[in-house]
């Protein structure tokens, strides 16, 4: 009988994790492609924000988190949201304004979450989610929990906010098990990094906060999985807060109305402009973890999931002003009746 050596097991688990994460990336990519078409078809009101090109980073974070952890994703984390456990339908419901979705039409697009499940719903103001996650971790410490981490994401632009700074410093003072995943995707809307920061590398901020700093190639899923995995494990093991900075290019407009024509053509040919999804597929084939045909099957499978989610969400009721519960307070007796 064959005996599998530890070495073989390691290879096996590497393969499994890589493929599982790749699947989340694929689901994110194709579901966002669908959102883009829906937007172009006028089926979505407001902005559509894609994480195209950042799926490897985002998904690698999501798969490294588990139940009981806190996750506050940001603009470009469709992959991380799915990997963390958000049902595909919820993104569709939120974009399509379903009354049955988590936000019930009250907020839309990326402004969604289920805080009760450790999955926080971002406010638009950049930097503001970091301290919320820090506070959640303080709470878990008060409550005597163990084996938990909190994670959130930020961009090269969001790191310029005072809110971000205050929260990073606070998290370090409290030695919290916080992972901050920063995507330096070269632009904040139209603003290039040269107008956003002046340090050589954003990871150089880690030392000033008292974070452990890590750099990753955001186009390389293997690197993302390994390094983010290490950072999450370190935080979980009491190693204190971790800053992971990935270099990448935003492979979409800021939102779907934006053709990103301002992106420097030279930048488009830099190594960090590589599409992480295609790169992952190439590696899968190179390692012959899957065959071309398997990838095609997978893609169909994922497409079907997306079709189902979209058609379900589209059939769902939208909010109705008449029956809406117009109340910003959970304490009904404290609602100011004279403002109605």
């Amino acid at each position: 009988m064959a005996i599998t050596s530890p070495r073989q097991n390691a290879v096996e688990t590497e393969r499994e994790q890589f493929l599982a994460t790749y699947r989340w990336m694929l689901l994110a990519r194709l579901s966002e492609d669908r959102l883009s078409s829906l937007w172009k078809a006028g089926k979505i009101v407001g902005g559509v924000y894609l994480g195209r090109g950042q799926e490897a980073m985002s998904a690698s974070l999501g798969v490294n988190l588990k139940k009981g952890d806190i996750f506050a994703p940001l603009i470009r984390d469709q992959a991380g949201r799915l990997a963390f456990g958000e049902p595909l339908i919820e993104g569709m419901q939120t974009y399509l304004g379903s009354r049955l979705g988590p936000m019930r039409g009250r907020d839309g697009n990326i402004h969604r979450g289920r805080p009760r499940e450790g999955y926080y719903a971002m406010i638009s103001h950049l930097g503001c989610m970091v301290s919320a996650v820090a506070g959640a971790l303080m709470a878990k410490r008060f409550q005597g929990d163990s084996d938990f981490v909190g994670a959130t994401c930020i961009g090269d632009g969001g790191m310029s906010t005072g809110s971000f700074h205050e929260a990073m410093n606070m998290a370090a003072v409290e030695k919290l098990p916080l992972i901050v995943l920063a995507a330096n995707n070269q632009y904040a809307y139209s603003t290039p990094t040269s107008r956003q920061f002046a340090c050589a590398d954003l990871v150089d901020r880690a030392i000033g906060y008292g974070f452990t700093g890590h750099s990753i190639d955001g186009t390389n899923l293997k690197d993302c999985l390994t390094t983010i995995g290490k950072a999450v494990a370190a935080a979980r093991a009491g190693g204190g807060p971790q800053l992971v900075v990935g270099t990448i290019l935003r492979l979409a407009g800021h939102a779907e109305h934006d053709d990103a024509s301002y992106v420097d053509p030279i930048v488009r040919h830099k190594p960090f402009a590589v599409d992480c999804l295609r790169a992952a597929e190439e590696m899968i084939l190179a390692k012959s973890w899957l065959a071309e045909s398997d990838l095609a099957t997978l893609r169909n499978e994922v497409m079907n999931e997306i079709d189902d989610a979209v058609s379900t969400a589209q059939k769902e009721p939208v909010p109705d002003a008449g029956t809406e519960d117009w109340c910003a307070l959970s304490s009904r007796h404290l609602v100011d009746g004279h403002l109605a």
Binding site: R106, A139, V335, L339
Partner: protein, 321 residues
């Protein structure tokens, strides 16, 4: 035994910490030092690990309270001065205040704002910010004017499932004393007739209540009976109690310490005239601080905010109308 407004706030926090393991206090210098005003004196010792010094990061302080509240805690945040909440403003009005509406998850945080003017405090240590917070949906704004309310309303604030901005007045910290702590109290959202009368109604709150009562005393010498309504909470506003009082007196003067454009006094008057126009025998008047930053020098400060003499004048004019 006698207890000050400040001690009442300290006692309320001690009780909240003792009664509810979900409560903790976070703010600058609130720990061993006991806070800039000593509102958390000895609490760090009595409740180890639950009264924590924060860095000078108001935005993150409030943001962290929101996350902790989501996870089931009941944070009490102390701003060192209300004025500095301007840099925690966004987390309060856009994050804490919108959480329940957006996600159905309530946000039970209490943000204590040491508010209002005091001798020599100047433009950045004297502000009354209740109007800013009351303007935003999703917040409850308390403005206790008595030792009893400072105690019972702070306990209530901690118990309420929604974010409460607790405007405690620094001028009352030491000036105001009571014999003992209350055992029962009016619920939040209910105003109180602080002094009954029949000739005119003053609607006010916080430190201005005492200026209003002094003014009413003085007019009593001329046999005028001035009713004084203490709002207690400015969001929500107990409009029914105000209307009932105006129905008795026919005259209304709204007094507040905040800046004159907008704010509580305008809101009170707008409600009374739109819902109780026919109750009024004279044009409702208001008295606020002046439309300039709050001056440092006592001579200027005394003329910047409403005081008993100014209220007396306003009342005499109102009674003449």
């Amino acid at each position: 035994m006698s207890i000050t407004y400040l001690e009442a706030i300290r006692e309320a926090q001690a009780k909240a910490l003792a009664d509810d393991p979900r409560v903790y206090i976070y703010g600058q210098d609130v720990g061993e030092f006991g806070g800039a005003f000593k509102a958390t004196k000895n609490l760090a010792k009595e409740f180890p690990g639950r009264v924590l010094d924060a860095p000078i990061s108001e935005d993150a302080i409030v943001g962290s309270a929101i996350g902790a509240a989501i996870e089931g805690m009941r944070p009490i945040i102390e701003m060192q001065f209300a004025d500095f909440s301007s840099v925690g403003f966004n987390q309060i009005v856009n994050h804490a205040a919108t959480l329940y509406w957006r996600t159905e998850v309530p946000c039970p945080i209490t943000v204590r704002l040491p508010s209002g003017g005091n001798l020599g405090s100047g433009p950045f240590h004297s502000q009354c910010m209740e109007a800013l917070y009351a303007h935003y949906p999703g917040l409850i704004v308390m403005t206790p004017a008595t030792v009893e309310d400072a105690y019972s309303m702070l306990l209530e604030a901690v118990a309420i499932d929604d974010p409460v901005v607790f405007c405690e007045h620094k001028y009352l910290y030491y000036h105001l004393k009571a014999e003992s702590l209350p055992t029962d109290a009016l619920p939040a959202g209910k105003a109180r007739i602080a002094r009954p009368g029949r000739d005119a109604t003053i609607v006010t709150y916080s430190a201005m209540l005492h200026e209003a009562l002094a003014a009413a005393e003085e007019l009593a010498l001329d046999a005028y009976q001035i009713e004084v309504v203490d709002l207690r909470t400015v969001k929500p506003i107990d409009t029914d109690t105000i209307l009932a009082s105006v129905a008795r007196t026919g005259r209304l003067l709204a007094v507040g310490e905040a800046f004159p454009w907008g704010g509580v006094t305008a809101e009170v008057i707008a409600r009374v005239v739109s819902e109780g126009f026919e109750l009024l025998d004279a044009p409702p008047q208001r008295l606020n601080a002046r439309d300039t930053p709050i001056p440092y020098h006592p001579n200027l400060w005394a003329a910047h905010r409403p005081t008993a003499p100014a209220i007396v004048n306003a009342l005499r004019n109102l009674l003449r109308m």
